[in-house]
């Protein structure tokens, strides 16, 4: 496999990639239901639940950068953010006895509920 040099940008839960001299992306990866794997030195890969054998590989300039990318991408999905919110909400409720979302009037919103079937 040939490695092509790309500018890669993480924007919310999308990973955009560009040819290095172009302003518009040539492609994007939606980062939901994916697995970020540290591969060999300087390299990480992204794969998706329904196609685990298909790996998008990225080689970084340094191992340090590689670790930064892995950490950033592992936390990039909307679903991760949602789980964080539910976790914090739960913890604060346990500690203070109050639902922290009540003051914002959003405690009944479907998107903030703890659902056992959420992934």
């Amino acid at each position: 496999a040939v490695l092509k040099k790309r500018l890669v940008k993480l924007v919310v839960n999308f990973l955009f990639y560009f040819r290095t001299d172009e302003a518009e992306p040539i492609g994007a990866l939606l980062l939901e239901r994916c697995r970020i794997t540290k591969e060999e030195e300087n390299v990480f890969s992204i794969s998706f639940i329904e196609e685990p054998e298909r790996k998008y590989c990225f080689e970084c300039a340094t191992e340090e950068q590689c670790q930064e990318w892995v950490e950033a991408l592992k936390r990039a999905s909307y679903e991760f953010l949602r789980r964080s919110l539910i976790f914090y909400r739960n913890e604060i409720q346990k500690m203070t006895g109050k639902d922290p979302l009540e003051q914002y009037g959003i405690s009944e919103e479907a998107r903030f509920q703890l659902g056992a079937h959420r992934q």
């Binding site: 919310v12 999308f14 939606l30 913890e91 203070t96 998107r111």
Partner: protein
């Protein structure tokens, strides 16, 4: 522009619960040079909102979406259209097309506008950061309370906080892969430990990585008086260009399909 469409379609149709779903009529956006077209038309589509993504399908049972709207850098507002119960998704990026949608009734329209207004990743991130701060403060208060047990409790803490036996030691959250693992039920450690131990290392969700700055002001500034959607306009940023490309990506497929259909119609109906 390439997209991992299989994964996108899978996310759209997998059985993780949608944040909102229902039929809406979508205004068909036509280009100026289609001079033969008069008036506006609408197409009834099945819409599914998951996270910050609004998918739409031709039919409720369709296995793949025909469109995708990324709800970043946009506002959702009621619409002065000829249609009743119309609302629009408009983007800060001037080049991006707007989506005009029509609900079945007042309640449906209000529910959609509410759901869509709170759908952005940026909004979610704001709320998470706020809760992160609150949890830190609660931990600090708890630690302070334990150090000086004679202090009267403040911040509305209930009695159970002073009884550490009621805060059982629980599983620490397992390291998360996106979509793969689930949270263990993390919690404060029992008596004898301070909250600062709990906060260390892998035991709480790691702080979010620095991202592009929020247009709504410093995330580390004074606590938001209220996270009402009206105050959380998605910030304008160059990245919105990326998203308008994503919207066009699906839009182009539809444009091609429509032209092909129209050609067939012309041949069949002279």
């Amino acid at each position: 522009m390439k997209l991992n469409e299989r994964s996108v379609a899978h996310y759209a149709t997998c059985d993780s619960p949608a944040d909102h779903a229902g039929f809406l009529r979508k205004r068909v956006e036509r280009h100026h040079h289609h001079a033969h077209h008069h008036g506006t038309s609408y197409q009834r589509r099945w819409f599914v909102l998951k996270g910050n993504l609004l998918f739409y399908f031709e039919e409720r049972e369709s296995r793949e979406p025909v469109g995708l709207v990324v709800l970043e850098g946009c506002t959702v507002e009621l619409c002065e259209a000829a249609e009743e119960f119309a609302f629009a998704i408009r983007f800060d990026d001037a080049g991006a097309r707007a989506y005009v949608l029509v609900a079945d009734g007042q309640a449906a329209m209000e529910a959609w506008v509410k759901a869509l207004s709170r759908a952005s990743f940026d909004y979610m991130r704001l709320v998470v950061r706020e809760l992160e701060k609150q949890l830190e403060e609660a931990c600090k208060s708890l630690a302070a309370c334990r150090k000086s047990p004679r202090k009267s409790s403040s911040s509305g803490r209930k009695r159970h906080l002073s009884n550490p036996a009621l805060l059982p030691l629980q599983e620490k959250p397992t390291t998360l892969e996106n979509g793969y693992s689930t949270w263990g039920s993390g919690g404060c450690v029992a008596a004898g430990a301070t909250c600062s131990d709990y906060d260390g290392g892998q035991t709480k969700p790691p702080p979010l990585p620095p991202r592009r700055r929020s247009g709504t002001g410093s995330a580390t500034g004074s606590p938001a008086p209220g996270l009402s959607p009206a105050m959380l306009e998605s910030p304008v940023s160059p990245e919105t260009i990326c998203f308008s490309k994503l919207h066009n990506w699906y839009g182009q497929e539809i444009a091609v399909l429509r032209r092909e259909w129209q050609e067939r119609q012309k041949r069949g109906h002279p």
